[in-house]
Amino acid sequence: MGDRLFGDDGETIELDEVLGEGGEGVVYRVRGTRPRAAKIYAARMSDEQHEKLRAMRRAPPRITTESGGEVALAGIAWPQVVLYRDAARAVPAGFAMARYPAARELHMIFQPGERMVFAGDLTWTDLHELAARFAEIVAGVHRAGHCVGDINARNVLVSIVAQEVVWIDTDSFQIRAADGRIYPCRVACPEYTPPEIERGDAPRTAASDAYALAVLVHQVLTLGAHPFDGIVRGADCTLERRMKEGLTPIAGEGDIAFPPDTLPFGALRPALRALFRRAFVAGTRDPRARPSAAEWASALRAAARGLVRCRAVATHRLSPTWWRPLSFDCPWCASAARTGLDVFPKSGDWPREIARHARPSAAPRPLRERWFDRHVQDRLHAGPGRLSYEEGAWLLHAAATLDLDETYAKKRIAEIAGPPAAPAPPSLPPPAPSPPPAPAPPLPAPVTSWPWPAPSAAPAWMNLAGGLAPLSLAALLVGPPLVDPPSPASVDPSATTWSPPSARSPSARPSPQPPSPPFDVWVRAAGARAVRLRDAPSNAARGTRVRRGAKLAALGEPVIVEGRRWVPIRTPSGRRGWIADADLSRVEPAPARPPRDAPSPRSPSAAPRT
């Protein structure tokens, strides 16, 4: 380091530590008071590269600011100074640009598992604003006559601390020089490339950028789902094929359905849904149909203003619906009930401490330990000892990203969250396949019982291990059998809190045993509201009506979600789901129904169970 380089504006700069390395060259910190970085090319720069940099210097884009004004180069790592190796400025080496400390690549923001580690306090509204911001930057680039070209989630950095979005890799942009010459963009990322761009170095247009931008916006708002993700009926086909053919569930037709467990399309603001349809349904064939970057920016700002707060969890933001302007139908509550993990957890702004570190794993250990403790505390809404399996797994992931070892992490979780309930001894009849050929050796047992080591009092089935065939032993070590019905692990205070997750794919449901034999319940006969059998223990979940007075089978203990008790239910026709405890009775209703408006205190209403 300490290399001296000569800028085209007459200054001399010194390189400091390496910030990153790419295919083309190395990015260094520039010594000095202004936060700047320098990209130095590994190979000798071609004449075209050099001229392109000089053209970029002369034609910087102006970016709209939040207050409505325009500022040159806000949020964009544009070449500010062209650097040379010699004082005569004959051998170009690279360029200097603004540096944004502790910025993260955009994919770390939209993937909840990563975002919650260092930016757990961001809300869905913040994500809208963030998307609006990078749309504004693209709009500024377009106004100057350039194209971004290679739009992808690694080229957008987000600095949580500076509350700024930064577009990097600007030297790959397609640049239109003042004299009208076009310097092409030579790279492309297939997940963001519109169908009309056949090759990576094809000429770009504002419309091809608009397509890629819409993909990125979709990923940010849906926490990572690609607009062409889906379940395809018939033969499997790759994402690139679906993009080429315009096969997207957004179209609402064709052999593709929305992937399960993603944010429902209907949960987006209507204006945004319309823009996505233009971008991917009409826009697949007709580039002119796609909304421009400026349209995205203003629609996203408006959408962010239109979101409301969930009534149950203050950190959830949702789009209100016309039939229920202050809706209880929170997609994030529903998602938490379904997946066991709240992706917008309650937390203060303490994660900003983590966000301030470019590499949290390199922070002093006491800090990392404190952050991890806060993470565990943030997950304890349901009370001590009530972590779901998924929350536990996420916490171990967070520990790994903070470079804390698993043993330590599990110890802290147990200390803060209370001891995990021992996994229920599986209601095995242990499958007894043929015994192993030789006497079983001591196996590397407990560590494999994910995610928690076997409880100190190893249940009897652990000791059976030696007598079982190896493969089924491995199966046992993965965990006890799953509890039917659809994963209430997240919220079930009575269930084993660290029970493994039920496999999510429909094919992957092993023949489960309910924890207790099913018992009969009846839908309460009295009441005016429709009673529904819900897909998940939440009023936000989809439901089908059940007849009042109907006899049903309860499959297990009630669980508490959002302050209500829900009972897992199977109907006589075999359908499964959840019904609120308040709507059920364990006693068969009297055959002669009370008059319709008779008060019901005397109706038989033994509470199901506590």
């Binding site: 994919h107 598992g113 379940i231 994402l239 797994a393 992931h397 196996l443 199966a475």
Partner: protein, 225 residues
């Protein structure tokens, strides 16, 4: 094969990134006892290296299967941050054919689970490392046929790595193109190579050929066979 176990192959639906599954298929027969330390250090270095890459750690999913006394799948496919290798253990024979068939089943299940969740999935890599030869020869031809079929349909890519004493004739039968002889003490380099290659692969598009660094170059981890 134990369907009961494979029924547990699932996918973290909150992570929508494309997946690159990796099955580490490690020999745990009695003769491996001396090399366990190297394997353990290699696995730790492998994990640390994947963890550094914030995108690869969301895309690479690792499952560890050992074959020795028995074929054992240690846990499930997990994202690289959640991967932790069990304490090493070696004893018994080398049921390589059973292990390969099992790994192919696991690979198939993983792809099916991804598909059911609407998540894109690259062809899983099966990284077989052995110091001997299969002892379950009656199933060998079945295993070879299954592996070849998986390679042809691009539903898995098999790397067959042998130490100096391994039976390379057998290894070449399962993976003619990717049979590599491991240099003595080459374990750390091999695992580093694996993580670098996975990082490159996880960024390509499904079906693309990715040029991997040649392990046979002078400072690589392979011996010319």
């Amino acid at each position: 094969m134990s369907n009961e176990m494979l029924a547990r192959v699932s996918v973290n639906i909150l992570n929508r990134e494309r997946r690159q599954p990796l099955i580490l298929l490690l020999d745990a027969s009695g003769s491996m006892v001396d090399k366990l330390g190297e394997v353990e250090r290699g696995l730790a270095a492998f994990r640390a290296s994947i963890l550094e890459d914030t995108l690869a750690r969301s895309r690479v999913e690792v499952a560890l299967i050992t074959f020795g006394e028995a074929v054992v799948m240690h846990g499930e496919f997990v994202e690289a941050t959640r991967f932790s290798a069990p304490p090493p253990f070696a004893a018994g024979a080398t049921p390589m054919a059973a292990a390969l068939l099992f790994a192919l089943d696991a690979a198939r299940e993983k792809r099916a689970a991804c598909r059911a969740a609407g998540i894109d999935c690259f062809a899983p890599w099966i990284f077989l490392v052995t110091d001997g030869e299969p002892t379950d020869l009656p199933r060998w031809s079945e295993a070879v046929a299954a592996v070849r079929d998986a390679e042809e349909t691009k539903s898995a890519a098999i790397f067959a790595i042998g130490t100096r004493d391994a039976n390379f004739e057998r290894l070449r039968q399962i993976s003619p193109g990717r049979t590599i002889k491991l240099r003595d003490g080459g374990w750390p380099t091999m695992f580093r190579w694996l993580s670098t290659s996975l990082k490159a692969k996880s960024r390509s598009r499904p079906g693309d050929e990715v040029l991997l660094d040649d392990p046979r170059k002078p400072d690589g981890w392979a011996l010319a066979p």
